[in-house]
């Protein structure tokens, strides 16, 4: 079930996506400073995945956020919204200057995304365990309407302890929803510690396979591998739902945060802010 990265993108494409992943991390730093605290590490683990989705994979049109045939993206791990907002702004869904209001009184941009306040957010999220059911319903809607869009749902690994995830997983294969794609940001940690110590989720590939899903497992920071997994997705339509388990590192890119539970939510002081920013830029240049 391990997917080998296929040559689906040029080096220039991969470089562009890597640059966008850096952009996501730097914006997460900046916005967290506005809020005073934020979910750095669970966003850093998903940076390459978000970049690959929004700058390569999703069939979207920022000029038409309600386009019925667009691919949907549900960020079930809504606490990574701080990394998604800058992407939507960058793509033109709204003015990037709007982000300066992040989390301030009356802002559209909270810690968790709100579909009624932000163009480009396909569904509100925040309470873990709901997103795969949302995606399931969207995929059913696509089937009824005979549309060929895909629905991508990004879940965290900690939220896989929520029973509703497995209700949705069961239903997705029962209804044969090949258009539903679940991406697991397998960043190894939940709030209280490693998932395997708090509530073990492995063997994840076997569990999804047992629920009737097509399973790929990749390095979630390897952009070529991510694009390779996307390329191997079956066509949207009747078929087995598809999961990409992306092995990632919570806090990826910042040495002090990587796999450290203390950085699930945090705030960097001024000196540390510059040091972390420099580390991210230097890391991306390597």
């Amino acid at each position: 079930m391990k997917t080998t990265a296929t040559q689906t993108a040029s080096a220039a494409d991969l470089g562009r996506l890597a640059d966008r992943a850096l952009f996501i991390r730097l914006e997460t730093l900046r916005l967290t400073r506005i809020a005073g605290a934020g979910h750095y590490s669970g966003t850093f683990s998903a940076a390459e995945l978000l970049a690959a989705l929004y700058y390569h994979q999703l069939r979207i049109d920022p000029a038409r956020p309600d386009w019925p045939d667009r691919d949907r993206f549900v960020l079930s791990k809504g606490h990574a919204a701080i990394g998604l907002y800058p992407v939507l702004a960058d793509l033109g869904y709204f003015d990037p200057a709007d982000l300066d209001s992040y989390t301030r009184l009356g802002s559209p941009f909270g810690d968790h995304p709100d579909m009624r306040k932000i163009a480009g957010i396909d569904f509100s999220s925040g309470s873990l365990g709901h997103g795969l059911s949302v995606g399931l319903g969207m995929a059913l809607g696509g089937r009824i309407q005979r549309r060929d869009f895909r629905v991508y749902v990004m879940v965290g690994d900690g939220e896989l302890a929520e029973g509703q995830i497995w209700e949705a997983a069961m239903a997705a294969s029962h209804f044969g929803l090949g258009s539903l794609v679940c991406i697991v940001d397998r960043n190894q940690l939940c709030i209280d510690g490693p998932t395997e110590e708090v509530m073990s989720v492995e063997p994840l590939d076997e569990r999804f396979a047992a629920f009737g899903w097509e399973v790929q497992r990749i390095d979630g920071h390897d952009l070529a591998a991510i694009l390779g997994a996307f390329a191997q997705l079956g066509p949207p339509g009747p078929g087995r739902p598809q999961v990409i388990i992306a092995d990632t590192v919570k806090g990826k890119g910042v040495s002090r945060m990587e796999l450290d539970v203390n950085w699930h939510v945090g705030n960097l002081g001024p000196d540390d802010y510059e040091a972390v920013r420099a580390e991210l830029i230097a890391g991306a240049a390597r």
Binding site: F123, S133, G135, G137, G141, Q164, A171
Partner: protein, 347 residues
């Protein structure tokens, strides 16, 4: 009196089968006209609506027979989903369907809808304004001796606290049809509280001009007002007749929509009849009675007032009709509560 008084035990055995399969040639079952069973018309009515509205879909959690949403499934199989015994997934998936432009009507027992799935209704349906219509059937203690796990005597309290959610109770089949029709174009999510499909007829035809939030005066009277909703409308009207025989003329208000509450109807009841009794198949905490009490207090209307329903307790095991009689939620019981309230001097 509830319709199945006299044979309450038999009435519960066919809960999951639907009565029409055993109806006799006259179209009645155990003395109950098939046309007067609310939950049983939902599937048919929705199927009619769906004939001309491709947005409408229906879902159940393994209760297609009990709710008669099976009638919808037969006519619109591609737009019907039995989600199995997974109510939370069903409610959230309905929200996802709504996000793609559909209007999902989602049925399950009220206890599971409102209590098990409170967060899915609040966070995934009401908050993002998804037009999901929850058909919360077998509400109150209508499941009788199935017991507290299957009773919903707290659902109105829970649902009433959710912003941007319409909460309404159907009294009979015709009113349910009106509600289903009116709900199609209503913005936001809706919680429709239904009985178990045996409620006797109150409205002899589908009421015209039905509007959520607009209470209906079904009986005039100047001595007191009964404000009631859903399953208690029929026995409240019968109680009014009992009271009239004793010289007490009672107004009866069908407050079918508990939220948004028809505030002018409450104020008029207090100022014009001088006493108010709320009657509901629900805890006296948080439901219709609380909603009316809030209005009276906010407007400093110190009239004789009583919240009649289930006290802060779990009810006994028993057949529905016996429970209604025991808790004074049948016509004689309601009449006695009204007499007590009117006879109580102001403090």
């Amino acid at each position: 009196m509830s319709a199945d008084a006299g044979q309450p035990d038999a009435a519960q055995h066919d809960l999951f089968r639907g009565v029409s399969e055993t109806k006799d040639q006259a179209g009645t079952v155990k003395g109950i006209a098939v046309k007067s069973v609310p939950a049983f018309v939902a599937g048919e009515e929705l199927a009619d609506l769906a004939d001309s509205d491709p947005r409408i879909v229906a879902m159940t959690a393994d209760l297609a027979s009990a709710s008669r949403l099976a009638d919808f499934a037969k006519r619109h199989p591609a737009r019907f989903f039995d989600m199995g015994i997974a109510e939370k997934n069903m409610i959230t998936a309905a929200a996802g369907l709504a996000a793609t432009g559909h209007i999902p009507f989602v049925g399950t027992f009220a206890s599971f809808a409102a209590l098990l799935c409170f967060e899915q209704i609040r966070t995934d349906c009401a908050y993002p304004g998804m037009p999901v219509r929850i058909l919360a059937h077998h509400a109150g203690m209508s499941m009788g001796y199935y017991g507290t796990s299957h009773h919903a005597l707290e659902d109105l309290a829970a649902m009433r606290a959710v912003a941007a959610l319409t909460v309404a109770c159907a009294a009979d089949a015709n009113q349910l049809r009106a509600m289903l029709r009116a709900s199609v174009e209503l913005p936001g999510a809706v919680y429709l509280r239904l009985g178990r499909g045996r409620d006797p007829e109150v409205y002899s035809a589908v009421p015209e001009g039905f509007e959520f939030g607009q209470a209906v005066r079904l009986r005039e009277g100047s001595d007191a007002t009964i404000i009631t909703t859903g399953s208690q409308l029929h026995p409240s009207l019968a109680a009014a007749e009992l009271l009239a025989a004793g010289g007490c003329e009672v107004r009866v208000v069908d407050m079918h929509t508990v939220k948004p509450l028809d505030v002018p109807a409450v104020l008029a009841a207090a100022s014009e009849t001088g006493a108010v009794v709320t009657v509901e198949e629900h805890s006296i905490i948080g439901g219709l009675g609380s909603a009316v009490a809030e209005v009276l207090a906010d407007h400093r209307l110190a009239v004789p007032f009583r919240r009649h329903g289930i006290e802060d307790e779990y009810v006994l095991i028993g057949p529905p009709a016996a429970l209604y009689a025991h808790y004074r939620l049948d016509a004689p019981g309601i009449a006695s509560v009204v007499r007590e309230t009117c006879a109580t001097p102001a403090p």
